[in-house]
Every structure is written in structure tokens, then in C-alpha cells.
């Protein structure tokens, strides 16, 4: 889950008080998610790690101008998106879209520790998501892992919130059908009773 209030206050600390500790905490909170997001676009984890570092270098240097930023998380993701697209353009010199994403970087899976799903079913869920259109996978990931609202995800992907809603519904449908197909009825019933 994303802690927006904490991120906002950390960002505020960085911008107004040059607080290096807050900067470090912000970096560490967002690092893994941003690297995955960047790698999905740029197609390389190694490159993504550098990109995220570059984004934060720029953030530190521009910090005094950034206090009017309304939504720091979206802002940092937009910076990361731009940097990743730039890197990709330099690497491949071709048109950019959210159609050619690295599905390894996007792939997510339910925790099995919660004992709701078996390892096998979790893997089937992952496989099902990987078979979705890449744009749809990105929507699902941004909602589920990065904790974005429809509006934020839409802004980041340059699509409408309605499209986000529709794409997420497709993902939810496919996942539910896959779960139904691979979970014996008695397991579902035992879950429902408990």
C-alpha cells in the first residue's frame, strides 16, 4: 500500500528544508516500484536503475522549485516515464508507446503467505496476466502494486480514466475466470465457509 501522506510530507521536507534524511527515505520507499516501472518501458533493469537514480539527482537539484507540485508521487513517476522513454528512444530510435513493454518487469503475483491461493494457482494467475495486452498489464500493476487512483494512472499513461476502468475490468475478468478454471469447487466452498 502507498502511504500518500508520508510521501507528501517527505517531499515537502526535501523541497523546503533540504532534508537529506527525508530524501533518502523517499528514495528507498519508491525505489523498487520505480525501477520496475522504468524497466517495463526501457526494457532493461540495469538501465532502469540508472534512470531512477538520474530522476532523483534531478529532483535534489531542482528541489527548491518543486514545492508547488501537487501530487509528488505522480510527479516522480512522470519524470521516470519521461526519462525511460528518452532512454529507449536513444537506444532504439523508434516510436514509443505502451505497447512494447517488458513483461518481466510488469509481472506480479499474489502472496501465497496469505494462504488464500496455492502456489500453483498463483503461478496460473501470473501467467494469465502475462497473456493480457501489455497496456492492460501496466494498468493492473499501477493500481495493484503502485497504489494509483484511476485518475493518476490515466495521467501517467496519457489515457482517460474511463479507459483505465475498462482495462482493469478486462484484467479482473481474465484473472477470475482463470482462478475458477483451476480451483476445485470444494476449495472455493471451504474458503467461503471459513
Amino acid at each position: 500500500m502507498r502511504n500518500n501522506e508520508l510521501i507528501n510530507s517527505l517531499f515537502f521536507e526535501v523541497c523546503t528544508n533540504n532534508n537529506m534524511k527525508a530524501y533518502e527515505q523517499l528514495y528507498k520507499m519508491l525505489y523498487g516500484k520505480l525501477v520496475h516501472f522504468s524497466a517495463a518501458i526501457a526494457g532493461s533493469f540495469q538501465l532502469a536503475e540508472e534512470i531512477v537514480s538520474d530522476v532523483f539527482i534531478a529532483l535534489w537539484q531542482k528541489r527548491q522549485q518543486l514545492s508547488p507540485v501537487k501530487n509528488p508521487v505522480v510527479y516522480i513517476y512522470v519524470c521516470t516515464r519521461n526519462a525511460s522513454l528518452n532512454a529507449l528512444q536513444q537506444r532504439k530510435a523508434r516510436n514509443i508507446s505502451f505497447e512494447n513493454l517488458d513483461t518481466d518487469a510488469l509481472a506480479i503475483i499474489p502472496d501465497v503467505e496469505e494462504r488464500l491461493v496455492s502456489k500453483e494457482v498463483a503461478l496460473i494467475i501470473e501467467k494469465t496476466i502475462r497473456e493480457l495486452p501489455e497496456r492492460c498489464q501496466l494498468v493492473f500493476r499501477l493500481i495493484k502494486i503502485d497504489g494509483f487512483t484511476y485518475k493518476e494512472a490515466a495521467e501517467l499513461m496519457d489515457i482517460s480514466p474511463k479507459t483505465v476502468d475498462a482495462q482493469l475490468a478486462i484484467a479482473v475478468k481474465k484473472i477470475t475466470l482463470a482462478i475458477k478454471l483451476h480451483t476445485p469447487t470444494h476449495l472455493v466452498n471451504s474458503f467461503l465457509k471459513s
Binding site: 510530507s9 527525508a22 525505489y31 488464500l116 495493484k144 495521467e155
Partner: protein, 375 residues
């Protein structure tokens, strides 16, 4: 009706909104009615709402810490070479669309942020790299006094003189984390799902449920943890990959001079780190005296216990216990090895006992400012 029926579009839409936390109250009622007809979807909903994680290249806390260290040195280079203007122009959105709309509302938000931020950071500044998102509470003891408290999870903590413990109001995260400077004894309530971590400058002690003592004063050149029962894992701050497992009655001592963390971004800090050698850590058994008192935890029973310790180490304990400053006017006396267990004796009585038992004697007196001089 079959779940895959094309009329189920509404079900998927509502399930999606529920997953994204975008569902309205009315829609929520509508969804629960639909779910009654489709138990499979109800099960899927639970999976949708549970925790998920990356299935490829999951970053651990250690990975993230390492990444930040690397990032810090890149940040320094960026400053030195000051060719950063290019990076900025490339990355930062030129049109400030995102934030333009918000400026009017900012004033009130800013005040609220400032209050929250001030509270969080005032506490965090005192702390270690393992920053916690919770608003922290703090218990501190003066020299000459001790304290006891029960943490929100039932863990009991005894805090020795001149010590400070930072802990959250509630343990909400996956890990129960506290930060200690000074000496404390922990009796941790067992919880396999939520391990208990104590951060100190030299190391982090990771446990599930056990009892142990930590001595990590800022002014002493080594830090130690002693395990009374159970098992713990100790992760060294200087080298996160270096984890030591301790069992009951074992003690780990780590030199602190070599584990100082960098607080500031300094141009030559990398050089400093390279010069430092890997800390020499020492694993021993806990010490007991003639009466079977465990020396490391004697302070909890209001006892002062020393066994074959150097006078300078003993003086550090006495300073905290009696809230007095001790100075050696004769360097050689610092190395005297002394033993003794005391309960209720005054400082003068303890020193006289040492004078009578040590292989070599010494003198002491108080100067006009109340400082104790040893020569």
C-alpha cells in the same frame, strides 16, 4: 447464470473498481448482490484484494539500501561535474500541468504538512538509517536513572542510565522496529508474523521472541548484545551481508569506531570508507561472577557487575550509573583489570573496594567541579 456470460460486464467493472478502491457506496451494495450469485467471483475478489508482489526481481531492503549508497555517490559526482543541467532538461516535465491547478489550495495544506513533517523529522533526525514511517515515541533516561516500559505489542524493555529508545505508537508494518542508543534489556513478545528488530549504530538485532541485552552507547568504542534465551540474528551496520547468529548465553561484541555511518554528503567520504578495515567482531559467552550473576544483565537487578574488565570500561559504566564525570590523570591506570559485583554501594565505596583488590592500586579525588580524578 454462468460467470462467463456476456451480461456480466457490470460484475467485472465493479470488481475492478473495488480492487482499485474506486468503488462508491451504492456500487458496493450492487456488487455484493452480484457476488451472491457468483461465489467464484467472491473468492477471486479476496485474491484481488490481498497483498501482491513482484514475481521477477523483487528488491529486498538490503538491495534498496545498497542502491541508495550507489545513488549517493552518483549524486556527489553530479555536483562535482555540474553537468546536470542536461539531465534536468531531459527528464523533468517542461509543462507543470500536474501542479498548476493546486497552487491555491496549497497554503492550508502546507501548514498541515509542516506540522506532520516537523513531528516525524524531529524524531527521525536522532535515528539510524532504518527509518520508520510511523510517528515515533521516545523514552530517554538521564545518567543516574533507569526506566522500564511495555511496548504496544507487550514487549518489556528495561532502559539503563543515559539511554534512549525510539519506538512507534503502534507496530503497523511487517516488522516491529525500534532504535536504541545506550543500554537496554528486551523481553520480546513472540510473534512469528512480525519479527522484532532493534537498530543500533553498530548492528541490528533481529528476533522473533526472546530476551537479550544490548549495550550500544555513543561514547563507547564497542557495542555488544548478549542473549539470555532463544536465538537472534545480528546484522552488522557496516556490512549488511554479515549476519551473525547468536544462541542462548552468547555475546557478540562489535567495535564501533569502524562502523560510524555517514551523516552528510561529503566529497571525500568514499575514500574514508575504503581506509576502514572490516570490523573485527568477537563472539564469546556471557560472563558470570562467583555468585552466578550474569554480568551483562546485572544492572537490571540494580547491581553493578564487572569481571576482569579494564578500568576505563568500568569508569564508563560508573559515569552513567552515578551521573559523574571520571577522568584519568594517569594513562597507565586505564588498563588495570578489575572485578567486583556491587549492590547499593556508593561510588567511593566501590572505588575503595577496587583499590583493595586490584593487582596495582590507584588514588582518586573529586575536584572543585565535582569531577572524579583517578591517578
Amino acid at each position: 447464470m454462468d460467470i462467463d456470460h456476456k451480461d456480466n460486464g457490470r460484475l467485472w467493472q465493479l470488481l475492478a473498481r473495488k480492487t482499485a478502491n474506486e468503488i462508491t457506496g451504492e456500487e458496493s451494495i450492487e456488487l455484493s448482490k452480484l457476488l451472491q450469485q457468483h461465489p467464484d467471483a467472491l473468492y477471486a475478489q479476496e485474491i484481488m484484494l490481498q497483498e501482491w508482489h513482484d514475481s521477477y526481481k523483487r528488491f529486498s531492503e538490503t538491495d534498496t539500501d545498497a542502491a541508495f549508497e550507489k545513488h549517493k555517490s552518483r549524486l556527489q559526482h553530479a555536483f562535482q561535474e555540474s553537468k546536470t543541467a542536461d539531465i534536468e532538461e531531459d527528464i523533468l516535465p517542461n509543462k507543470p500541468v500536474i501542479y498548476r491547478k493546486m497552487i491555491l489550495r496549497r497554503a492550508s495544506v502546507a501548514v498541515a504538512c509542516m506540522i506532520v513533517a516537523f513531528f516525524v523529522f524531529k524524531k527521525n533526525e536522532l535515528k539510524q538509517p532504518g527509518l520508520q514511517p510511523e510517528v515515533l515515541q521516545q523514552l530517554a533516561t538521564q545518567y543516574g536513572s533507569k526506566s522500564q516500559l511495555v511496548l504496544p505489542d507487550g514487549t518489556k524493555v528495561w532502559l539503563n542510565a543515559g539511554s534512549r529508545l525510539d519506538y512507534p505508537k503502534q507496530f503497523t508494518g511487517a516488522i516491529r522496529e525500534v532504535t536504541l542508543e545506550g543500554e537496554a534489556y528486551f523481553d520480546v513478545t513472540a510473534n512469528k508474523q512480525q519479527p522484532f528488530w532493534v537498530h543500533t549504530r553498530a548492528f541490528t538485532v533481529k528476533v522473533i521472541g526472546t530476551a537479550f541485552n544490548i549495550r550500544a552507547y555513543a561514547d563507547e568504542d564497542s557495542a555488544a548484545t548478549s542473549l539470555i534465551r532463544g536465538a537472534v540474528e545480528v546484522e552488522l551496520t557496516a556490512n549488511k551481508k554479515n549476519t551473525v547468529r547468536l544462541h542462548a548465553n552468547e555475546k557478540l561484541t562489535v567495535p564501533v569506531a569502524q562502523t560510524g555511518n555517514q551523516e552528510e554528503l561529503k566529497g571525500n567520504s568514499n575514500v574514508d570508507i575504503e581506509k576502514k578495515t572490516v570490523p573485527e567482531i568477537k563472539k564469546t559467552v556471557v560472563t558470570t561472577d562467583k555468585k552466578n550473576t550474569v554480568v551483562e544483565t546485572a544492572w537490571m537487578e540494580n547491581k553493578l557487575a564487572f569481571k576482569n574488565m579494564s578500568f576505563v570500561q568500568i569508569a564508563q559504566s560508573l559515569e552513567k550509573w552515578f551521573a559523574v564525570e571520571i577522568q584519568f590523570r594517569n594513562e597507565a591506570k586505564k588498563k588495570l583489570r578489575l572485578s567486583g559485583t556491587f549492590e547499593g554501594e556508593s561510588l567511593e565505596e566501590i572505588l575503595n573496594a577496587f583499590r583493595a583488590t586490584g593487582s596495582e592500586s590507584f588514588s582518586f579525588k573529586k575536584d572543585s567541579s565535582g569531577k572524579l580524578l583517578i591517578y
